[in-house]
């Protein structure tokens, strides 16, 4: 009998189960976890670091951290993918500091063409995505673009100022106000 694809909740559970096993020191759990999560994490790292060799090194650091810190994750019962993506993003930002890698001055998100409407079911496993989508709609296009350039591309205020051609002070205030509006909306 053909098995249907597991639901997004199942996937979350599976990632969580693997992380719990890592927390318990079961080294056999790390490889399946790697196979599930590494393409997205490597995509994240290459996007921020722009250099493949550096991203490969960072991915190793990230999985070493995941292995070592799985116990912390297990204890706080967060969302597995959010936790792993955060580890990857923080590591990449950390490496940017050392590398002083110049950002590529090509806007990745030019006119903010809203790609196709994300499939609700496909993204359903990502926590509160519908809520975030709704809240993002309340921001101005510029605020939204700044948040995406920062979160996805790992760009600093200065990078975004150069990328978008807007003064640094303006960027800082767009981001600050964008985050403020988001918080009000998310917590309302």
């Amino acid at each position: 009998m053909p098995q249907s694809a597991p639901s997004t909740a199942d996937l979350d559970e599976r990632l969580r189960g693997l992380l719990d096993r890592c927390a318990a020191g079961d080294s056999g759990a790390l490889q399946p976890l790697y196979e599930l999560a590494s393409p997205l994490l490597f995509g994240c790292l290459t996007r921020i670091l722009r250099r493949r060799a550096l991203a490969e090194e960072a991915l190793q650091d990230v999985f070493v951290s995941i292995w070592q810190r799985a116990g912390q994750f297990s204890a706080m019962r967060g969302r597995p993918m959010a936790w792993m993506v955060s580890i990857a993003r923080y590591r990449a930002i950390d490496l940017l500091r050392h590398e002083r890698a110049a950002p590529v001055l090509v806007p990745d998100l030019p006119e903010q063409a809203p790609a196709e409407e994300p499939d609700a079911e496909v993204f359903g496993w990502l926590p509160a995505s519908a809520l975030l989508e709704r809240c993002l709609q309340l921001l101005t296009d510029r605020q939204r673009q700044c948040l995406e350039l920062a979160f996805v591309g790992g760009n600093s205020h200065e990078d975004i100022s150069r990328l978008t051609g807007n003064p640094l002070g303006t960027i800082k205030s767009w981001i600050r106000r964008g985050l403020q509006s988001l918080r009000q909306c998310l917590e309302s």
Binding site: P2, Q3, S4, A5, P6, T8, D10, L11, R14, S27, L30, Y34, E35, L36, S38, P39, L40, F42, G43, C44, T46, R47, E56, L59, Q60, F63, W67, G78, R79, M81, A82, W83, V85, S86, R89, I93, R97, L109, A115, V122, W125, L126, P127, A128, L131, L132, L147, A150, F151, V152, G154, N155, S156, H157, I175, R176, L179, L182, R183, L186
Partner: protein
Amino acid sequence: MTPQNPNVVDRLAAEYVLGTLRGPARRRFERWRGSSALVTQRCLFWEEQLIPLARALQPVPPPLHVWEGIRARLNLPEHRARARPAYALAIAASILMIIVLGAVVYWRTTQPGRLSEVATISAPAGTAAWQVEIYGERGRLIVRAGQLPPRPANRDFELWALPTGGKPVSLGLLPAGGTAERTLTEAQLQALSHATQVAVTVEPAGGSPTGQPTSTPIFVVPLRTVS
């Protein structure tokens, strides 16, 4: 000193998670994070709220040596791969859907060993259509699909080794997406050891019925030896 004002903590946490808190301020914040439950809690809030922005990320399969590096760094034993249950494949299918654009999840059914030869199949100045990796020692072939050329209906792309002075030897069908991995036969390995090029042809669905290419190759690319 940890800021006490919850609004300040939240503002810093948001910019930390977003990545725009940089320099000494970021490092200071990281220290606070480790010592304050409030800071930890606000970071967690933003990490989980902003993660859907990651949908704009394009998954990229890391090269195989990265896993080997992790295993070595953690001094993990090499686990013999087991046959994966259908459930795992179903999960792979879901991840592909979740991860949207051109996601490539690969499943290693064995440790493929050392990469010996590689070929990148791409149009001139184009993005790679397939990446072909040959692990000679263990006789494994791994093909990762990238941005594929348009495929006529009821046709498949077939990969060929072009041994010098011999007839092309089929290396099987190329995947329309994701990653394909298979064990090479003795004849295929033999052909590859005498080949400096591989080719791709468009064949009837299921592959050439004759065992030889039935059309002119759409790609002929060098097979590079990895030292």
